[in-house]
Amino acid sequence: MSIDWHALLTVLAVTLVSTVGLVGVFTLGIVGLSRRAAGPAAALGRTGAWVCFAACAAAVVWGIYLIVQK
């Protein structure tokens, strides 16, 4: 009987990186949408925000793919 430390640590690492990454990117998106001022900076912020949200949506789609494929 041996504990599969490798699998356990892999799960820990993957979970930490994906959670913090996803939440971080999503929050950046929210920050990007927050800049109300007009002008190129605001447009840039909005564009950046939607890039962030698109990345999160892609992560969700990948998650669904993982569920289906299993």
Binding site: T10, L12, V20, S34, V68
Partner: protein
């Protein structure tokens, strides 16, 4: 569907009842924080979870061929009576923990019940001790830690990065984020837990000679298992939702989003990398982690302690009930009948006890009684809670006291 004896019919019905309790026991996993932060109205949230549970049940074709992942030796003469006794143990423990409002793992209840019943019917050689440690005990210890750590860090990050975001973008953004991540948890839950019941029913049909060994579950099994679970989910285990959404800690949208994302990531990473963790323990751990991650938030360790003791008790308690049921059921037809009657009476008693202090979609977001302020910080939180406007008025009660 031919030659289904009365006994097999009873086992299938019991498996569907277990599936139903599994559904309402685990609604909280996906939806507790979504409901407590007001991202979704309670009824909408459980409806969404139910639909995604149902979809999840059909998503994967790689159905578990073993009901217990090798914990019990399924070739060691497992009779329908034994599966029946195991299911009774699991159902009763699920109902008791529901009455206490404690999120405990339905899978562990099922494992515990089957282990107890097999121990009585076939002796110790029917159990693989290594598998119990590897597949139940270690994951149970790891799940809340992994998910809790992820949620703590994610909560810190989201408060830090988002500290200058304006409130309107924040509330809309986190609302959408919470709904998406809760949906992912529901989907994953439907796939993993829905398949467990399908596995139980399929194994029963095989042991009864209705299906050939190693068969895939027939369509009617998939439909009935998925539907039973979705119905249970829709009924909503409001008691457990309240504990997870309000009892453990006070959840803000940022924390709800961090917790749900952490839970979804943990479930997907662990099931994909072959170290399956209990959904319930992952989600409760993530909620506590989110509580630890926000400055000034209070984690109510008393409630957490009661929850952890329920986790520790799940396996032996469900096992003990199932062992007793297996002893009786082994006596023949009258024994099975006696177990069924006693189990039904116990369910009715628990239900009427729950009726005395009902928790419904209407009062699910009210503070949990019996979780008093533990210190000065709690008093502050309580004061803030008292002056903050309550969430939107709930829809009129329609009598689903679950």
């Amino acid at each position: 569907m031919e030659h289904i004896t009365l006994l097999i019919g009873i086992v299938i019905a019991t498996a569907l009842v277990f599936d139903f309790t599994n559904g309402f026991h685990d609604t909280a996993n996906a939806m507790a924080t979504t409901i407590s932060t007001g991202a979704l109205k309670p009824k909408t949230a459980v409806a969404m979870a139910a639909v995604l549970n149902l979809v999840g049940a059909f998503l994967s074709v790689a159905v578990a061929k073993t009901i217990s992942g090798g914990i019990i030796d399924e070739s060691a003469g497992i009779k329908p009576e034994v599966i029946f006794a195991g299911l009774v143990g699991a159902i009763l423990w699920n109902l008791v923990t529901w009455l206490a409002g404690l999120p405990s793992s339905s899978s562990h209840a099922l494992f515990g019940g089957l282990i107890g019943a097999v121990l009585v019917a076939a002796g110790t050689h029917g159990i693989h001790g290594d598998a119990v440690v590897m597949k139940v005990l270690i994951p149970a210890a790891a799940a809340p830690v992994v998910a809790g750590l992820a949620a703590t860090l994610a909560t810190r990050v989201t408060y830090r990065v988002g500290r200058r975001a304006d409130p309107e973008a924040t509330s809309r953004g986190y609302r959408a984020g919470q709904i998406a991540s809760a949906g992912l948890v529901s989907l994953a839950h439907g796939t993993s837990d829905g398949q467990k019941t399908m596995g139980v029913i399929t194994l029963t049909l095989i042991t009864g000679g209705v299906l050939a060994p190693h068969s895939d579950p027939p369509l009617w099994v998939m439909v009935s298992a998925g539907t039973a679970m979705a119905l249970g989910t829709y009924l909503g285990g409001w008691r457990i939702i309240r504990t997870m959404g309000r009892g453990l800690t006070d959840i803000q949208p940022q924390q709800g989003f961090a917790a749900q994302t952490g839970a979804a990531a943990t479930i997907l990473a662990s099931s994909h990398l072959g170290f399956a963790l209990s959904t319930t323990q992952v989600c409760s751990g993530a909620v506590m982690g989110a509580g630890l991650g926000r400055k000034g938030a209070v984690v109510r360790w008393g409630t957490a302690g009661r929850m952890v003791s329920a986790w520790v008790l799940t396996l032996p308690a469900a096992g003990l009930v199932a062992a007793g049921a297996a002893l009786l059921a082994d006596q023949g037809t009258w024994g099975v009948t006696a177990v069924a009657v006693i189990a039904l009476a116990a369910c009715a008693a628990i239900r009427s006890a729950a009726r005395r202090k009902p928790v419904t979609h209407a009062n699910v977001n009210e503070p949990v009684p019996g979780t008093p302020a533990a210190g000065p910080q709690d008093a502050v939180t309580a004061a803030i809670a008292a002056v903050t406007p309550p969430p939107p008025a709930p829809a009129p009660a329609s009598g689903t006291a679950a």
